[in-house]
Amino acid sequence: MNVIVCVKHVPETAEAEIAIHESGKRIKTENLVFDINEWDDYAVEEAVLLKEKLGGSVTAVTVGPEDADGTLRKCLARGADRAVRLTDKAFEGSDSYAIAKILYKAIKNLPFDLILTGAQAGDDGCAQVGVVLAELLGIPHVTMVKKVESIEGLVKVERELEGGLEEIMELKLPALLAVQTGINEPRYISIMGIRKAMKKEIKVLSLKDVGLTEEEVGESGSWITVEKMFIPPVEKEAEILTGGVDEIATKIVETLRAKGLI
């Protein structure tokens, strides 16, 4: 089973303070830590689990700047055999559609039985790249995958719907699965694993190498263009309880008592 897994290097913003860049079109990233997109981390683990069970190889592919090597090294440390980084000045400003086109050009001539991606990225949350990529490659896809039940000519998966409901779908191979978090338990990466991964080669390809023109990527090759970013307007805001820890706890207890909850 030859598996290609598409990954993205994203800033961790869950607990960070975020400021809008002077351009108004992006956030300031200087003080943010970048790592593999959370959904993609599960996709890489799933790819490695399939390889361990069925043999074959795992190739990690990303579109991004040189810094994205950090994410590719993590994939290699987790068990990927090869890593490819698609980097070009012309790729800047690409939306999900343009990214999918770049990935398509890089992947179409590689041998694969399965492509895995995360169901979405934690930064832009578009949830498009995998599905567009499958369409360009002319292979079936399924998103929100919670479990790969079996894989032999056909792949049978459990797919997450809303309200705790799931559905079982079956696809012909080769296929693309966009995986949901929680599909597996990404393994701990040892220092040894990281050291070993540092020695592996990362193949770098440019616009020309994959056979695209400048018009096909970046803003000109995209469906959507960012006009501005802004901090969401506050419609409702909690009353913040202040003071020392004991004081805050007392205020909560008073509120609960007033509402008859204790």
């Binding site: 800033p11 913003t13 607990e15 975020i18 956030i27 559609y97 999918a100 169901a119 979405q120 930064d123 832009d124 949350g125 578009c126 949830a127 567009v132 369409e135 360009l136 079936p140 399924v142 929100m144 719907l161 809303e162 309200g163 705790g164 409901l165 799931e166 559905e167 079982i168 079956e170 696809l171 012909k172 978090t181 929680g182 338990e185 995209s222 469906w223 959507i224 960012v226 006009e227 970013m229 802004f230 901090i231 969401p232 409702k236 805001e237 909690a238 009353e239 913040i240 309880l241 820890v245 004991d246 805050i248 007392t250 207890v253 509120t255 609960l256 008592r257 509402k259 909850l261 204790i262």
Partner: protein, 325 residues
């Protein structure tokens, strides 16, 4: 006259709420752009939805085919490719649901039409279509424009637009022969699967203590278990806790879990992704404890505490136990 499509979403014999939310937004946009609002209904034996949809739209287009009974992106895409190529609606609205995310991107790519996903608002500025989306887990909003086109596709975030009861209309019901000629061979729906219910039903609880990523380690669970016990509440959680296997999936609050409406909801170490918020925002009283003052959960809560949960929660538990004695 130009048409504006809303793709009706239904599952297991029910039209889903997002359909009416899209129709409400669709009425507004169709009036503004002088287009006809058309509900598109694909399915099998779906007569019972016709009238309800005709109530909201100028026209209901129906394609009835056994292969469309359960959602299957391959079958739906083929039919919609045909419909959109032929009728060229100015806009097609699809829900940003498990159904929409599986369908819209490949459909847009095949039609080569610009797509924006998970939008919380959209508007035509002249012929230009502009959307508002949320990025970075809801901490930042983006205003973006779509590449100029005669036809656009947009997926709308569920539970963002209120569905209004419309001025009753009596839209035309138009049945179209199914354009599916060949069998659907690449992708097959097998069955729905409902994981078995656990011992506790959080959707009926009066007091919910919900935990998120901020709890950091499964060894820290007793901190919140004690608070739940002191308050006589049940433990629930956001998605990452279920992903890590620290609580069973039936304790998850949110779009992919349960919708709850308790008298008291205490969110501890939960940042407040929209998927979580839509599962608990209608609780009577919401208290959020999170050390990140920018966490979106504070926009859903009545009271907020910007503090280390490992300091506040034990103190709160002690004070509640004192109060009870």
């Amino acid at each position: 006259m130009k048409e504006l499509f809303v793709l009706a979403e239904h599952r297991q014999g029910e039209l889903r709420d997002v359909t009416f939310e899209m129709l409400t937004k669709g009425v507004e946009l169709s009036q503004k752009t002088n287009a006809d609002l058309t509900a598109v209904l694909l399915g099998h034996n779906v007569e019972k939805f016709e009238k309800e949809l005709a109530h909201h739209a100028k026209k209901v287009l129906i394609i009835d085919d056994a292969r469309l009974e359960n959602f299957n992106a391959e079958a739906y895409q083929r039919v919609l490719f045909h419909l959109i190529s032929e009728r060229k609606p100015s806009l097609t609205l699809i829900g940003h649901t498990a159904f929409g995310v599986d369908l819209a991107p490949s459909l847009a790519a095949e039609l080569n039409l610009p797509l924006a996903t998970d939008c919380i608002d959209l508007d035509f500025e002249g012929e230009k279509l502009v959307v508002i989306r949320q990025v970075y887990g809801g901490k930042v909003n983006v205003k973006a424009s779509l590449r100029k086109s005669e036809s656009y596709i947009v997926t709308l975030r569920p539970a963002t637009f209120e569905a209004h009861e419309p001025k009753p209309r009596d839209g035309d019901i138009v049945k179209i022969a199914s354009p599916l000629s060949e069998d659907i061979t690449y992708k097959r729906f097998i069955e729905y699967f409902q994981p078995p219910a656990g011992e506790v039903d959080i959707s009926t609880a009066d007091i919910i203590i919900a935990i998120g990523r901020g709890i950091k380690d499964t060894e820290n669970m007793p901190v919140v278990e004690k608070l739940a016990e002191a308050l006589g509440g049940v433990l629930a959680c956001s998605r990452p806790i279920v992903d890590k296997g620290w609580l069973p999936s039936d304790r998850q609050v949110g779009t992919s879990g349960k919708i709850v409406k308790p008298k008291l909801y205490i969110a501890i170490g939960i940042s407040g992704q929209f998927q979580h918020i839509s599962g608990m925002k209608n609780s009577d009283l919401i208290i959020a404890i999170n050390k990140d003052s920018e966490a979106p959960i504070f926009r859903a809560a009545d009271y907020g505490v910007v503090e280390d949960l490992f300091k506040v929660v034990p103190s709160l538990t002690d004070k509640i136990l004192e109060e009870k004695h």
